[in-house]
């Protein structure tokens, strides 16, 4: 589905809404002093954002968090695609393993986070292991779905024309399985980010999540909002990029 250009009306409703939100925020914080503790003035948050940016604290925390996300994601992608591919080698294996993996994924794995901390410590390892485990499931499940959806007819056709198993993989399996597998990679990526940030908020020595939890503990609400604003901005940009990539690949 190609995205049509939204008419001016839709865009103005969206921007109007955001403007009203910020306007209300500005307005209520100007009049009430009591609220200041939980809802700091927008200009104070803006100043904190500049401070975090220029003092290098944002980059120090972001480097740790992004490193954890990348490591966890690489582990999840390799393990997820490998397991997913191996399971689809036989229909019986799919019937045995698919429900088990799906059942595990329905459990909020956050439950197991304290175990990860006990085993891997308070450092980055526990966050990497936890996020890798969480994002492994959607990747494996979608790889299974992707490779299972490859039409048997095409396989028989290329086999009868004498395709080697490498050629079968390259020209039938891969293109057939790719769309669904990519969906799994996208879901896994966002779960990976959320898990690393969640894990850092719960128990960590450093990182963006830890900085957020710490500013809340110290009641530095302006700084807390500044951190949140940075993560929200990054997440909106990432989501828009993912959406744009998907729209493009669907058009092709």
């Amino acid at each position: 589905m190609a995205m049509p250009r939204e008419p001016v009306l839709i865009r103005s409703i969206q921007f109007g809404l955001v403007a009203i939100l910020f306007g209300t925020w500005w307005f209520v914080t100007q009049s009430s002093q009591k609220l200041m503790l939980l809802l700091p003035r927008p200009e104070l948050v803006w100043r904190e954002m500049q401070l975090l940016w220029s003092s290098g604290r944002l980059w120090a925390a972001a480097t740790i968090t992004v490193t954890e996300i990348v490591k966890a994601y690489v582990i999840a992608v390799v393990a997820g695609i490998l397991v997913g591919f191996l399971v689809t080698r036989s229909k019986n294996l799919v019937r045995i393993f698919e429900p088990m993996l799906a059942g595990m994924f329905a459990i909020p794995l956050t439950l197991f986070f304290p175990l990860f901390v006990v085993f891997f410590g308070i450092g980055p390892d526990s966050k990497i292991a936890y996020a890798a485990t969480y994002s492994f499931f959607p990747i494996a499940l979608n790889t299974i779905a992707g490779f299972s959806s490859v039409d048997e007819l095409y396989l028989r056709a290329v086999r009868s024309m004498g395709a080697s198993s490498i050629q079968q993989f390259r020209h039938v399996y891969l293109p057939g399985a790719l769309p669904v597998t990519l969906t799994g990679l996208r879901i896994g990526f966002f779960i990976c980010i959320a898990s690393v940030l969640g894990g850092e908020t719960l128990a960590a020595a450093a990182g963006v999540g830890k900085s957020i939890a710490l500013s809340a503990e110290l009641m530095e609400t302006a700084r807390l909002y500044a951190w949140i604003a940075f993560v929200v901005l990054a997440s909106v940009v990432l989501n828009l990029l993912a959406l744009a990539a998907e729209t493009r690949s669907e058009r092709e």
Partner: protein, 253 residues
């Protein structure tokens, strides 16, 4: 390869799980020297009376279930309400749906400390955080469900003189059910995720209190017993929503 029968598949799956538990037991008993690895037998021994036999733990589990129930009910009611309001008009859907999706995409863990500041250390912050997780899949799937209704059926029923209320009851609602229930199942998982995240973050006497207690006193057997009990409850709740879903989409087949 020949196709296995359903019973056969189940037997193999069972054997696999039993085998994994046996390997885990063997590893914990004979190979691992770490005190952090507790075998299945240790976990089973800790389960009763130390963990679930302890009234305070049972109360904590009860509190968590109540938090979950309240948050889930709020997610369903407000999610469907907001979803219907947005999905009712074309303009509403096209302007608001992208905003809902972007909000849904934000990793919510980052606002957890703020929720605790605003709603306090008690159950209120858990309910609020579970609600903020659970409401999004309900909104999104309600909007999606309303779009699923074929315009031919609407035109047909209108031609036969159905009122707007009758259209909602007999055409729109049955078609929404499947999509909405898929949303409810996801909402159940996410609400539980939110409640547990908030519990583990800070807790007074809830399950988060006990996971922290067992972690800090290095009691992996008790920790696993509690965590596995909650995981089994999560599976049971998920099955429950699935059964209700099957009941309401019976008309389809």
């Amino acid at each position: 390869m020949t196709e296995m029968s359903n019973t056969h598949v189940r037997l193999v799956r069972l054997a696999l799980i039993v085998g994994l538990i046996a390997i885990w037991e063997f590893y914990a008993r004979f190979i691992s020297t770490s005190s952090l690895i507790a075998g299945p037998s240790d976990v089973a021994m800790a389960w009763w009376p130390k963990v679930m036999g302890e009234p305070r733990v049972r109360t904590a589990v009860g509190i968590t279930l109540i938090e979950l129930a309240v948050a889930f009910a709020m997610s369903v009611v407000f999610g469907m309400l907001i979803g219907i309001l947005i999905g009712l008009t074309n303009i509403g859907r096209r302007s608001m749906y992208p905003i809902v999706l972007l909000l849904y995409g934000i990793p919510q863990a980052i606002i957890l400390p703020l929720f605790v500041l605003v709603f306090g250390l008690g159950p209120a912050s858990k309910i609020a955080f579970g609600f903020s997780h659970g409401i999004f899949p309900v909104i999104v799937n309600t909007i999606a469900g309303m779009r699923n209704v074929s315009p031919h059926l609407l035109a047909g029923s209108a031609a036969m003189g159905a009122s707007r209320a009758q259209q909602v009851r007999y055409v729109i609602f049955p078609h929404m059910v499947t999509t909405v229930f898929a949303g409810l199942r996801l909402a159940m998982t996410l609400t539980l995720l939110g409640v547990i995240l908030a519990e583990i973050f800070v807790s007074q006497g809830g399950i988060g209190f006990f996971t922290l207690l067992y972690s800090e006193t290095f009691n992996p057997a008790a920790l696993m017993a509690l965590v596995l009990t909650l995981a089994l409850m999560a599976i049971a709740l998920n099955e429950l929503v699935r059964l209700v879903e099957a009941r309401f989409s019976r008309w389809k087949d």
